[in-house]
Each structure stands twice: as C-alpha cells, then as structure tokens.
Assembly symmetry: C2
Homo-oligomer: 602 residues x 2
Amino acid sequence: MINTFCKKPLWECSKTLVAVAQGKVPADTVIANARLVNVCTAEVQDGMDVAIAEGRIAYVGKADHCIGEGTQVINAAGQCIAPGFLDGHIHVESSMMGAGEYARAVVPHGTTGIYWDPHEVCNVLGLKGVEAMAADARRTPLKAMITTPSCVPAVPGFEDTGAAIGPKDVARTMSWGNVVGLGEMMNFPGILAGDDHAHGEVAETLRAGKTVTGHYSLPETDRGLNAYVASGVRCCHESTRAEDALAKMRLGMYAQLRFGSAWQDLPALAAAVTETGIDTRFAMLVSDDTHPHTLVADGHLDHIVRTAVDLGIDAVTAIQMVTINCAQCFQMDHDLGSIAPGKCADIVFLDDLEHLRVTRVLIDGEVVAEEGRALFDLPPYEYPEWVTHSVRLGRAITPETFRMAAPAHAAAKGAARIRAIEVLAGKTSTRETLIDLPALDGLLQSDIEQDALKAFVFERHRETGTFGAGFVKGFGIKRGAMASTVAHDAHNLLVVGANDEDMALAANTLATCGGGMVVVADGKVLALVELPVAGLMDVLPAKDMSEKVHALERAWGQIGCTMPSPFMTMALIPLACLPELRLTNRGLVDCTTFEFTDLLAE
Amino acid sequence: MINTFCKKPLWECSKTLVAVAQGKVPADTVIANARLVNVCTAEVQDGMDVAIAEGRIAYVGKADHCIGEGTQVINAAGQCIAPGFLDGHIHVESSMMGAGEYARAVVPHGTTGIYWDPHEVCNVLGLKGVEAMAADARRTPLKAMITTPSCVPAVPGFEDTGAAIGPKDVARTMSWGNVVGLGEMMNFPGILAGDDHAHGEVAETLRAGKTVTGHYSLPETDRGLNAYVASGVRCCHESTRAEDALAKMRLGMYAQLRFGSAWQDLPALAAAVTETGIDTRFAMLVSDDTHPHTLVADGHLDHIVRTAVDLGIDAVTAIQMVTINCAQCFQMDHDLGSIAPGKCADIVFLDDLEHLRVTRVLIDGEVVAEEGRALFDLPPYEYPEWVTHSVRLGRAITPETFRMAAPAHAAAKGAARIRAIEVLAGKTSTRETLIDLPALDGLLQSDIEQDALKAFVFERHRETGTFGAGFVKGFGIKRGAMASTVAHDAHNLLVVGANDEDMALAANTLATCGGGMVVVADGKVLALVELPVAGLMDVLPAKDMSEKVHALERAWGQIGCTMPSPFMTMALIPLACLPELRLTNRGLVDCTTFEFTDLLAE
C-alpha cells in the first residue's frame, strides 16, 4: 500500500539514499555505535551505525564514510536502537486528549506510528470530526494512520449518534491519503449473518487494497471465528484467553495482544507465545485504550513491551510485535517497522534490553524526543466551535426529569422487581441482575442499601430530547451522582446517581461546559473533567489531564466507590454491542438477543 | 496489492465463505483428515479438515458441518497439506517450453504460483511477446504473475535486441492486472551510479505500490548492497555465499536462495539459516532457471524444498520459504501463501514431511494434478506467425562469413595473441584467457589443440546484418559446430565451432527452422532442438523437450564435450552484464570495465 506518512516517498529520494550509502554525499544524520535490534532476523548486532538522509535510512553498518561537514552525529554509546514502535490498534480519544497532545504524550515512549480507529469522535461528529482531529495530529511528527470507523453507530437501531457511516463513506475515505484501512469491525454478528452493510464496508476496503481490522470478542474459535476471518478481517485485539489468540494466529489472523489502561489481556495471552514455541510473526502488542494517568505513570508501547518481557516473552520478539509484525499486518513493511535501507528513519533508543527505557526517539530522521520529553513545539490546538460545542440536549433537565413512575400494580404493591445492569470492576461485560425496588409515592427510587442507582442516557447530538432510564448496580456509591459524555460508543449524556437533585446538577454541569465527566454530591461539584472537544477530549497536556482524572477518581471515592477507574466502567454502560444488559438513549437493551427489554422483570 | 489471480476477489464471495464456515451452505469441496502444515505458526496440526467454496478456503478445523449433498470430499487419509508453492523468481523461457506446457510440467510438483520475469521473450519480441506468452499461461490454472522486465536490453549500448524497455513502459504495465512488480533489476551498476533509466523504472513500480525484484551479484555486502537495497529493491536471488544471503536478510531484503538446473547456490547458502538461528521470514527458495530435463527428472519447488531439508533446514521452515514468505515479499499474503480462511484454495498434498512427495495439487479449489500428472486439458498453443518467425538475419551466412583475417603483423608472424572467453562448467562467469593462435594464410583459425573455437554472434531481430566475432575456450570439442538462438539476454544467433563449413550449417539450420539449438559435424546435423517460439521455446510437453535436449547433450558428447548442460554455458557467452569477457553482436565486451575490447591482445 502506498504510505503517505513519510517525509518523502522513496521514489523521490532514492538517488540521494544511494549516494549517501556509498559515501558520495554526506548523510544528514549518523547514529554511531549502537546495538541494533534487528527485527528482520531477530538478532542483536553490536557496534552498528545508521546513516540517514531525506528522513530515511540510507545505510546500516559502519558509517564513517557517510559523515560530512554538515552531518549530525549521534553517539549511541552502546545503547540499543530499535525501529519506532507501532500501535496496531488504538483510539486516541480514550486518552481524553486531542491527537496533538496525545502525540506529545506517546512519542517520548517510543511510539512513532499508530493505527487509529477514531470511532469515538466519529460517533459524535462524523468524518468531519475525524478530519479535525487528524489535522491536530498532523502538527506533530507522530504517524497517525487512520482506519475508517466501521461501526457508527455501534448497534444501529438501538441508539442515536451524531453520525452514521456506511459502505459509501468507507469507499470515499479509502481514497484519503491518511486512511490505511477499516476500523474495528465490531459488528461480527452482522458479518456472520451476511449483513449487507457490514460486508459492504469490508468490501470497499478490500477493493481499495487496504486492511480490515477486527473485533471478535466471542470465546468461540471454531465456526464463528473461521467465518469472521474468511470475510477478510486481518487482525483482532479482542482475545481474552491464550487459546483465542493462538486460534487466531493459526487461522492467519494477526492476534493483537492487548494491554491498555482498563482492558489488560496480555498476562492471560502471553502463554500463546511462551508456551507454544510458535512462529510469532502473527502476534502484535496493542493498547486499544490508554488513559492519561497510564501514559504519565507507566508509558505506552514501551510499558507494554516491558510487560511482555516480564511475562516471559523474549525482548527481541516483543519488539518485533510492535514493529515489523505490525507493519506486515498493514502491508506497510516496505516503509515502516525495521531499521533497514530505504525505510523511514523512525528509530527508538533504549538503555538496554532489560529495562527497555526509551531515551531518545527519531521520526523521519529528526530527534523528536529525549529522556521522556517531546522536543516538538505544540501550541494548544484551536478546535472550531462545532467541535467544542457538541452537547446539544433537546430538553431542559431538572430533578423532575429523573422521576420514574412505577406501574400501577407495583405502586399498589409498594415494590417492583426490575432488571438492573450489574457492572464488574475491570471488565467490559455487564450482568443482568434482578432487584426488588421499593416504589414510594408511586415512584421507583435509587436504593443505596441494595446498591441500585438510577441511570439515564440522554441523546445529546441532534436535540431529539429522547432518553432511556434504568438501574445500575455495582458502583457502591452512597450519595451524589456522576455524569459523563464519554459513554460508548454513541457518547450520549449518561447520568448515574443516588438522588434526582444531584443527577440534574451533574447533567447540567456537563451540558454547560461542553461535555466531560463530573462527580457531584449534596448540591456541589466535587470534581469536573471538562472535555470540550466532542465531549470526549481536552487540549491539555497529559500531565494536566492525568491530575484532573485523579481528582475525579478521588471524588468517586468520596461518595463511596472504591472501584479502580470507575468512570471507565461507567462509560461502557451504554455499549450495546457487548454483553449482557445495556442502557442507551432508546432504552434497555438485552445484548444477548439484541432486543429492547423491559425495566420491569415481572 | 490487489491480486487478480484468483477465481473471484474475496469481496465478491465473502458472504458465501462466511455461510459455508458456519454450515449454512455446503462447501464445494472438503479436504478431510489431513496433517496441516500451518505456515502461519510453523506448526503441524493433525486431523484437520479444510472446507472450500468459490475457489477459496472457508473453514479450517473439523468440517463435517460443511458437507452437503453436492460437496466433493477428498480424504487426505493423514497425508500432509501445505499451501501451494510459490516460486518467487523464475524465467519460464529457460524451460524451453511455452508457458502453458511449463504450467503442465510444474503444477504436478506443487507449484501453484510463479513470479515470472519474462525478460528472455521480451528481449526478442517486446511486451507484445510477453502478452502472447501470458495468454498461453492463462489457459492453465497456474498463477503466472508477471514482473515487467527491467533490463531490456541487459546492457544498453553493447548489444542489439528486438525490443527496449524504459520507465514509460514500466509505468504502462503497472496498470496491467497480471503485473505484480518489476523484474530483476540487473543494472545494479546503474542503480549505484544514480542512472535515470534504472531509477526511473524502480520509481514507476514503487509509485504503483508494486514490488521491485533484484539482482545484486557482487560479493560486496556493505556500501554497494546498502545502496542497492535503499533504492527500493525488495528481494535478490543472486547470493552465492551464505554471508551474502545473511547480509541481505539483515538489511530487510528477501534472500531468494536459488536452486535451478544450472545455478545451484542453495547448498552454499543454507548455512545462512541453519547455522545462525535467525528469524527466517526473509528467506525464500527460488529456481530462477529450470530446464526441461530437471523438471522431468527431479521436479520443481518440491525438489528444491527436499534439497533444503537434506541440507538441514527444517521441513516446515523450508515450506514457509516457498509459501508465506514469498507471499509477504510481494505483499500478496492476504490471498496467497497460507491455508487459512479467505485465502485462495491453493493446496499441495504431500505424502509426508520426510519424502515431501507431491501427490495432489489444488488451485482455486480445483484438483489440478494427481500423482505427478496434470489434470487440465491443454491443446498445443497456436502462437501467431510473428512469434514463431523471429529469426531475421540481415545477411546470408556462408562458410566465408566465418573467415577472420589476421592483422598484417600477425599474418607476417604467422601467429596472433588473442583474448579468448574461457567458459567454466556450471558457472555463470567467464574468464579472459590469452591464447597464441596460428594465423595460416593470413587467417585466424580455431585451434583444437588449444581448445580455442571461433565464436560468432549475429544480430537476428532487425536484419541489421551486424555480428561480433571472437574465440571461446573450455568446451573441449574436437570437431563440428554448435549454434543457438538462446543466447542471453539479447538472444541473437550464437555460433561456436571448429570449422567454418559446420558453423555455416549450424547457423543456417536455425535460421531455417525459426531458432533453437543445434549440434552439427562433418556437414551433418547431429541434434536439433527446434525452438520456434521467439527462438527460445517450443510448444511440446516437458517430456518431449527433455528427450530432445538429452539428444542434444549426447551430440555435444559425440564431438568431444563432456561438460554437463554445455548448451547452457554456451548460451551465456553473450551475457555482458556478468563478468568477465563476453561476445555480443557488437563485439567483445570487457565486463569488468564495461567497455568494448580488442580481440588482439597485443
């Protein structure tokens, strides 16, 4: 596939590289005396130099002959160099940062390229929003390669989003230079059922010679997985068991072993590699979703590689999983993923192969980060008004909005058996739980004793005024309320709380500031993370975002929730493509049968 | 890259595959109870079934649910199945057969796809000739993927050919569905020197997102090789030492380990893999040139895989080198090179992994060969008249044509010191040797005692009447003459002999029959291999061709030459891109300096 993510196409500068390699023209930059992590042969070569010109590698060997007057010489002093790390599946929006600040956060950790599925922003603002974020990314050296979101909305007919994507949109984007494939095809039921819409999107991608990325979250690895792979999907990051990942690789599918902030499957998956002795070319390491505090505290792909090594995966093998394997998955290995002549000079310096600490990063031959710090200038990005004012409620929200009348027979009985969504710490799935709720004054109420909280989802894109209502169990909060416009994947306004007044306050706080995440109690805002960019992100640096999110997490604690990153778990309450019971702006969805269901269980 | 070599593009049949995988629609064919050589993970999986529909693999596992009334079930009975073998670099013309008969010869040996550089026919007939041969290939199931010849003529300015290829031709062919890349860029001196023509051809290929194949025959693996790789060349079959192949792989270049009829580098190269423990994904096995008798007696890629295993390469690793590694080199691994859902159902049955005997071959889901026999019908191909009448001499050839007047001082002395081309059995290179020849009656003569034979090359494409003359040493023949229109790469009419009368007879025999190879002695034709297709090939089956070539080899023996396949060695006498001294229709070429040189060494 033609790669537009380089300083110059190879065919426009190959003569220069050829001259530099032979010492006829001096290199722009020479890296001297490095231990080369050779991902092509899986070797470590000592005492190697790399000569760079035109943003590409011209020569690998002993490069004294490439050094001229103007050549910048970087003495690696025996440190390791590896190809720039590539994240094969990632949603920038999960970082709560715009793409520019995201780049500034991850590049110092060795990430030089990402395969980004911007489906969060696309659900809110459509392809126009994707392009606005991509423009932010283009201000940075990070190669932000886009896969067109395939599932917008995630579950058509069950929720209202700000945009919808279909095969024609996919076809149109495939001609964009920055689009390298199709985003995760979460609609595996559609693929398996032969659905025209899902197959049409895949078809348009294959027809363009680009890569279809996947999402197959069933623990079924036989007929369903075979069918899904046969449709043309090339990779999948949804394995949770080693046998799932192994089955995928055996079927020629790239298994993207995930280790993000919330979904950390790698420890369970590593055995697919460490205990089998298989050829690992079909294994990748990806983050999927990484939150600002993880980026600040732990890092990005460097952290994932370190974790892989801790789990017993050989360091060079682990580095292959974030370099050449990923580049081969996307058929971009002619430009990316190895330190070899002709390739883009995207290079990571590592102190050694034990600590794997990133000390310097080059992209297209330029030093873009050193000792954990990005070297590129990045003024705050000015997103247009339609991006920063995306919360459009079709109604005023007051405490009365949250009153839930019990049906007559329940009111008479003074109680109702309802279906509650039970959330599980650190899991994407939910459970359906039946709860007997009191019906006082004819109204259903949150019941702290039973950890049953009211949950509302308000459509916030097109001012339809629609909302869905239900109950959630599992957060353990004793008072107050939380709201979020990060509410996958439609990102409507989600409110959960112990009383109607605080719920209204939480909702209105976000409606006023353009979206974000908030915790309130007793009529006061305890913590607010403003996310004015599409209601999902801010333009602040990672450190600031991390502090704000920490404050939010502390506020959750203040009102009784001890779950780690509870706002993440909350944000998945509306995600109707995952089991088991979900709430969207259209109502309660049974995600095992994909049908709307009643709140009342009687 | 979009692959046009399949029954249907995946996007036109993926719904069917998805249905078959789930047992909703019966498969066309099910292979049952096989040992699967899984090239994705480098494992062997026992008891596996494969379900096939629309020419593609729908399911891999236990496929009882895919069997319906109309399903053909092939019981593998525990035999191995591997992906169809791919030859990453090959010239069909060397087989002396048209592409149709070539396919019939190689498919039963497990070859399901070839990456074919048709530069022999292109030198004679241009791209029109390539298309004529491709049309012959299309009558067969073999996937004959074409790389546009890059070096026609091989050494511009030093020889006359029937056609010339430049960047514009390359650009034009890149839009052809059957062209997947650029043929071997033999002009590595041009690449290293920054030559516009060579770089232009590479650029047009890269711009089209296709693969540039290489030919770097220097034993230099530092600056020159780096420069060559940096230009965008992705693979090379010219390694003769293990360290060459290893150096290429380390630089991210696919090392194509060659084992053809005449050039058999694999034994010397295997150590690059067996003694290093490297990741072998950049290693391939290729044939380059295979003659009919090798195909009949030994086989094709099956024979090369067996040889690799004999040399200590693991069987599954060796099979990866003719399947997935090759498909990844050409970025066609989404369709070819593995037995996995969605891929073309190109499958080879092997008795076991020790003997590696091919027992059955499927291409696009059809059984196309069994027990060494092709099952597809192939009437003799009717090539048009311009293909079969390609020998166009601009002059009558008589014994007098071969008289070589000695210069005055040599005539006076009765002797002359001349530069002779010394050929070496089984080598592509020649040596320059000085010989003192008698000059009788003012004429230079072949000298049997010193094994010095006259050699003439007549232009035969455009009736220019030009010819070059020199002397050859090394064949050891005592009488008679040989002629050949297979005379790389310009394929002019080459005549070598002990006397002028037999040389004229040999030349005129070929001129009359449209080209071929002939041995004559004492005014009689001892053996003639007619090659009317471009003067390079016939339309006969491999067995017939093999017998004819055997007869030719015996005739060489009758006149004193004991070299194996001497006609091959002879055919390289004009190949001015290889060292050391060569003869073209324009004269003697010093191939170390790339200058014409004098016959007289004084």
